[in-house]
Symmetry: C2
Subunit: 169 residues, 2 copies
């Protein structure tokens, strides 16, 4: 009976003292990624995004909605195309966003007499109220970022982000 029913045993010899077959997920190497600005930019933006949502508590009002409402308030007479450029989003992204905001009674679209293709956007009273509330959350959220970066470093940090935004247009 020396080797009656053993056939698939040798496959495990690989494990001895060599690398483990399965890599534990808490000791990963990043390779070149560890030094890439782009990679860290992505992770930092994700973290900031999630923190914003955590602050507002409402999952239905993401940064995109907030940006839209704020730009509408700050720029009376803005059109969807203006909003698209100001928010850095494609116009095809703006259409359903405005449709939702309008359906929720937060904004109004008014026809503009000089150009029948376009229309002008404005906050409703409900929209202003909601925006005021969101602004508080956003301010607290960004104050956290200020603290992490360090107030004294903020101007330089913002300048670097702006340089990336402009030079890579």
């Amino acid at each position: 009976m020396p080797e009656s029913d053993s056939e698939l045993v040798e496959a495990e010899a690989e494990e001895t003292a060599g690398e483990p077959l399965v890599r534990r997920s808490d000791q990963l190497g990043l390779g070149p990624l560890g030094d890439y600005i782009g990679f860290h930019l992505r992770l930092a933006q994700d973290a900031s995004f999630r923190n914003f949502v955590r602050h507002t508590g409402r999952r239905d009002l993401r940064p995109g909605r907030f940006t839209a409402l704020l730009l509408i308030r700050e720029n009376p007479g803005i059109t969807p195309m203006g909003l698209s450029r100001g928010a850095g989003r494609d116009k095809s992204t703006i259409t359903p966003l405005l449709r939702d905001l309008e359906r929720q009674g937060l904004i109004e679209r008014r026809p503009v007499p000089t150009d029948r293709r376009s229309h002008v956007l404005a906050l409703t009273p409900a929209g202003q109220t909601l925006l005021d509330e969101l602004c508080e959350h956003a301010a607290r959220h960004d104050a956290e970022l200020d603290e992490i970066v360090g107030i004294e470093n903020k101007p330089a940090f913002l300048a670097q982000l702006r340089a990336i935004i402009e030079r890579l247009g």
Copy 2:
């Protein structure tokens, strides 16, 4: 015939010397957004993302795929969950991503004998070849970012991004 067929004319009196009805899109105000780190983080990440795609030329291989391939190469024996944590993506995002990479013949999934729930990921030769090519594009892309930020500022800049990632994790 002093006023034979004119009735809807008075509506235009509003335009005189007051604010224009329609805001031109090249002179937008940002309000509080102009000082928000989060807002600039989002725009910078968008710009970096688009620049990466521009460098590779291929619209089907976004940064997410690149990150996955690189982490698989850098961490032999990595599992989908490890990849999820390393790349900072939800595990439900990883599933279709791996399915596609496998269908394209770029990666392999091997069963792991000690845990029948999981499997181990590995690059195929085709995957290695493609990754090598992508690495060149990625290096050039990130070198642009280095230049924009300024090599002497890069360590501090990366440290600030990492601080955001960790403290808001």
